[in-house]
Symmetry: C2
Subunit: 276 residues, 2 copies
């Protein structure tokens, strides 16, 4: 089976790596990268490779750094995948709950497990920079008195057992990842399009831009203005709509949008995420 | 001088604590809290106290957790402050650049210093959960072979020297903080209002909501739709506009907005940030 190289940010056992496996399955050759920029550069250098990066989380919002990279570099969105952030308490095999004195995890992950952790007041909580790295720490230091809060996939990667599963309070914590490629191929069944636009700093400019879609009964799926320092209203928007940029009525809408905007960039048309 | 208690998330020397001092000056009695929830709870318990929490960063976007808390609890926005995220390389006094073998900081802060760090290939980079805590580590462990990337205020708190100042690549990295109080007092010169609204899942609903402001020539300063798992288009929006909710034309616009929305919540009217 031919492998597909997919660059992601983080280390094996991270949620990003899990998203790579969810989207590409067994064909994936997941390539761990230190930064988003490195993952972008990898996909830009290798014609057949992809990058898979988080773009928004239902609890923590959009990841503007990835939007910045999309505007700066020539990679196209060719797919998306949503992953529920399920957190588990992981320890070395054989370690029981009552042996655990310290829990390591990343700050946001610890925040997601507040209810669970508040019921364990005797356990010390230590913030770590990354969930998968916390799991790695338990294994590397052979800690029988500590646990990590991380994904089930981090347990597999580092040979840990799940002491308690699904310890996150919010069962609706999802991260949406984008699949990026050098090649701007639009799938036949593409029905979602992402783009960025900027409008002039005059009253009603956003109203006109949205009218472009409303007049054609095109559904907006997301709209976000980007805050810029110094310029309180920079008028840069990130938008997701229904439809494909190469088919009616969105093709005409994108033409119309260019008439009322100072800048328009289509980031990609792709199949919206469904359970795979 | 009567002190004003202000709860913030993080530890002394953090950017949040710096924002407390920037906004409240010498009157501030900054209260370090472990989580956003704890800071909210503190201001909710103490009638005269405030909470100061980050709401958006120009590079990393909105902090949806704080929006969630604003929707859930009865605290009002009574002010805002913007802080430029200036990063410095800090070490124990007397330590020179060529002695430094390791740099500790939080992942996003390290990412902000990529250009600076790439020019120092012999230095090992270690991710830490917090910038101020990285500075504390250097002091507590008496490390003469290591540095932290953190704020100048972290240097003061932990008695470190600035080896290199302003090592961040992006000089336009700002965090906007909200000042929150139990009391919904609207300042006389309030000219910015924040609110949340939800619209029905029908085409054109957002168009109508924005028309409410366009028809009255009220400037939008920010608009953001909130992604919700399961419901791809939940129609919850966070909006900032010019004007005060108790004065014309915004008072009428808010009434009109209620006609076209399923849910409207004013989060506060306040003076927009200016240099203080």
């Amino acid at each position: 089976m031919k492998k597909i190289s997919v660059a992601y940010q983080g280390e094996p056992g991270s949620f990003s790596e899990q998203a790579v496996r969810l989207y590409f399955g067994a064909k994936a050759q997941a390539k761990s990268m230190r930064t988003f920029t490195d993952a972008f550069a990898y996909a830009a250098r290798h014609g057949d490779a992809f990058a898979l990066l988080p773009i928004e989380n239902s609890v923590y919002g959009s990841i503007h750094q990835v939007y910045d990279l999309l505007l700066k570099h020539r990679l196209f969105i060719v797919g998306e995948v949503k992953l529920r952030i399920e957190l588990n308490m992981l320890a070395l095999p054989g370690v029981r709950m009552n042996q655990i004195r310290t829990v390591y995890s990343q700050a946001q992950a610890l925040g997601q497990c507040e209810t669970f952790l508040n019921a364990l007041p005797h356990i010390r909580i230590e913030t770590f920079h990354d969930t998968a790295a916390a799991a790695r720490l338990i294994r590397e230091e052979g800690r029988t008195d500590a646990a990590a809060i991380a994904s089930a996939s981090a347990a597999r990667v580092h040979g840990l057992s799940i002491v308690r599963s699904n310890v996150e309070s919010n069962k609706r914590n999802y991260t949406r990842f984008l699949v990026l490629s050098q090649k701007s191929h639009i799938p036949v069944r593409a029905s979602k399009t992402s783009f960025a636009f900027a409008v002039k700093d005059i009253p009603g400019a956003l109203f006109k831009a949205i009218a472009v879609f409303t007049l054609r009964e095109i559904n907006l799926l997301k709209i976000e203005s980007r805050p810029y320092p110094g310029k309180p209203w920079q008028y840069l928007f990130y938008v997701d709509v229904e439809g494909s940029s190469n088919r009616s009525p969105l093709a005409e809408a994108m033409g119309h949008l260019k008439e009322v905007c100072t800048f328009v960039k289509v980031l990609g048309s792709y199949k919206p995420f469904g359970m795979r």
